[in-house]
Amino acid sequence: MRIVIWIKENLLGSKIDILMTLISAYFIYFIASLFLNFVFTTDWTLIQVNRKILLVGLFPEEQLWRIWTVFSIFSILISATIGYLYKLKLRNSIFYILILIIPFLIFTTMNLLVNVLIILFFSIISYSVFYYLKEKKLKITSRILLLSWLIFLPTLFFILILFGGPKVTLWGGFFVNLILAVIAILAGFPLGVFLALGRASSYQVIKLVSIIFIETFRGAPLIAWLFFAWFVLPNFLPNLFSLNDINLVIRAMIVLSLFSSAYIAEVIRGGLQSIPKGQKEAATALGLNSIQELLFIVLPQALRVVIPAIVSTFIAIFKDTSLVFILGITDLLRIGRLIPEQQQEFYGKSIETLLVVALLFWVVSIVLSQVSRSIEERLNVSK
């Protein structure tokens, strides 16, 4: 009975509603049949053959352990942070798992599956450990977490590069997109905080410089800045340590970091403005100096508010990393375009590969946007 009432209310409310329902039902049927027809009539061996190339490009097979190490450390750290910061809802976790299954269905081999399961196991352990520690309200937990982030982040870079690691020119595939986005946000975040503080400060010179920096980087499209990295940037780098002929990937990282810092600065500025004036006055009344006030009162509150917006910026930057395709860096999109051109047996299957590329980007973005949404909901509740 309930179902009948629901259908009456939501689908067949009035005459116009019935018409609308019919039209949209046909529309959904049309799109779904087009899509399913495409998926089931296409021969997907091209993905099975090019699995490795799509994910990591020309990264040497015997060096892949580096990526696995980085990936596992990173996911353990992230799950620890999630365990410390907030409680996963069962419904949300099921959603994440369902979404993440899609690429695994496409890309899984036995080897990969074992590795992923091991990483998943350790991530769940670290999640539960930190969740438990938080419940115990041990003060040291946050310090351990912060310290491990500070120690491991540089280590990750060393693992990739030092001790006979493959050259940066061999980096490729989805790995490049991920690492470009992660570096851009990690390096852009501190700079963005400084820029936001500079823009909000009463020191006119610092304010002016911050505004010029932010507006210049926001003024031109990212692709122009990537061209800047390609043609002009080497001239502006100092001659020391042959810094001026570093690889294009690193140059793209620099420019992406500067670019994302400008956007993050604007996001954080919004957070700073949302802090009530009374907080600052209370800090002054307690006798804190301006640096203490910033570090202990203003920034913690402002950063807390802007976490969802920062995640959105990360998604935007992550999607924008596909632009390095135009520079000729072998990122996921470029490999997706090259496969149908260079491998004879898959000649002309451009749309198929493009859709797989889009799917990979989509999976990461949608999971992150769900994360940002649930953080936002939690922030609203705790207000």
Binding site: N10, M20, S24, A25, I28, A220, I223, A224, N235, L333
Partner: protein, 400 residues
């Protein structure tokens, strides 16, 4: 202030105490930090400039012959014999063209989808949700390339879709039927646009009169009559003869297919336009939905209690109020759309960036070209912001 500080400074005897006075004086500290910072910035700037001099500077190369053709020209005439400035200007026009058309359709799509998202009808609201979730989370560049690939999948010109002879769809582009005139057509359209704006002003002016109880014939009708009179008079003065321009497809004696007439939508322009509209539309959908949801539900209920229809409720009660919180983020999306149009470099639609890239490849001078691009986009952004600010001021004034 300063004299006070000086007095204090002089009254101290030891150097250490003198420094202490300076250290605890707020205005001096402020000045000192800024001074240090400026010195640092000047050194940095000096370094950058000295480096920049090792590059090719100046815009002299833009005056020489371009030597490359552009596949799309609009309003301005351009041939490969023109200067590079001409090419650059054509690129600017192309960027403005795709941005304006894109902004128009993205807004339309965003509003429709935003309203659909809030519809009571389950299916309609889910279609809108699916549209947002799928298209917002895939990179724009991929979407642009996707649309180009799809449009190139259209049949070849030899068996083009004609839809009963009214339009030609092939992988060379889409030709749509339009109404056009042989002479002075664009001038007439321009006059009509200006008249439209003038009659809108006239209407609000007359409304003001009416509010002051001046007895006047219906302002709406008067402004429509004004518009029609100007339109018809200029129609006869300019000697316009309107005819429908239906695209045709012919085969000449050599077996070559020739398409002509109609409004041509090339695969490149259509691809970049579709992608920009669909991608930006998702963001506008979310903006519209958020703004409407933030309105108190009492507004909807009051409108229903007054017996307004759904259409009246949306156009008279909901949208005018929601517009206030829609316009600022909408401006941001317009700016994003304009900047994103530079991605058309991937599919060779000759916008500002594509033309600059060609010039950079031919003549070097990367730094000046990038500077020019920055200036161009900054001024485009400024124009959009200015226009939207004026609009915002108008909208927020309603009902206050």
């Amino acid at each position: 202030m300063i004299s006070n500080l000086l007095k204090q400074f002089k009254s101290q005897t030891t150097t250490r105490k003198k420094i202490e006075v300076l250290k605890y004086d707020k205005s001096f500290r402020k000045f000192f930090i800024q001074f240090l910072f400026s010195i640092f910035m000047v050194i940095f700037l000096f370094y950058l400039i000295s480096r920049a001099f090792s590059l090719e500077l100046g815009f002299g190369h833009l005056s020489s012959r371009a030597g490359f053709g552009l596949s799309h020209t609009f309003i301005v005439e351009y041939t490969s014999n023109d200067s590079r400035w001409g090419a650059y200007f054509t690129g600017v026009v192309n960027t403005i063209r795709v941005s304006l058309v894109g902004i128009f359709f993205a807004t339309l799509l965003g509003i429709v989808m935003g309203l659909a998202r809030l519809s009571k009808n389950f299916l309609i609201s889910k279609i809108s949700a699916g549209y947002v979730e799928f298209l917002r989370n895939t990179p724009l560049l991929i979407q642009i390339i996707f649309w180009q690939l799809v449009l190139l999948q259209l049949p070849q010109i030899s068996n083009a879709l004609t839809f009963g002879g009214i339009s030609v769809w092939s992988n060379r582009g889409i030709l749509l039927p339009i109404i056009s005139s042989v002479e002075n057509g664009s001038l007439w359209v321009l006059i009509l646009l200006l008249t439209l704006i003038a009659s809108l002003f006239l209407r609000s002016y007359l409304h003001k009169f009416k509010e002051e109880n001046v007895r006047i014939f219906s302002p709406n009708l008067l402004s429509v009559i004004f518009f029609l009179i100007i339109g018809i008079v200029t129609y006869f003065i300019l000697g316009i003869d309107l005819r429908s321009d239906v695209p045709t497809l012919q085969v000449n004696e050599y077996g070559t297919y020739i398409q002509s007439g109609g409004f041509a939508l090339t695969p490149e322009f259509a691809a970049i336009l579709f992608a920009l509209v669909l991608y930006t539309g998702t963001f506008i959908t979310e903006i519209v939905r958020g703004s409407i949801q933030s309105l108190p539900i009492g507004q909807t209920e009051a409108a229903q209690a007054l017996g307004l229809s759904t259409y009246q409720r949306i156009t008279l009660v909901i949208l005018p109020q929601a517009l206030r919180s829609i316009i600022p983020p909408l401006t941001n999306q317009y700016l994003n759309l304009t900047k994103n149009s530079s991605l058309s470099v991937a599919i060779a639609y000759p916008d500002v960036f594509m033309v600059s890239r060609t010039i950079m490849n031919n003549a070097g001078h990367a730094l000046p070209m990038l500077f020019l691009i920055l200036i161009t986009f900054l001024s485009l952004s400024l124009f959009i912001s200015l226009f939207m600010n004026i609009l915002n001021r108008r909208v927020t004034r309603i009902g206050t």
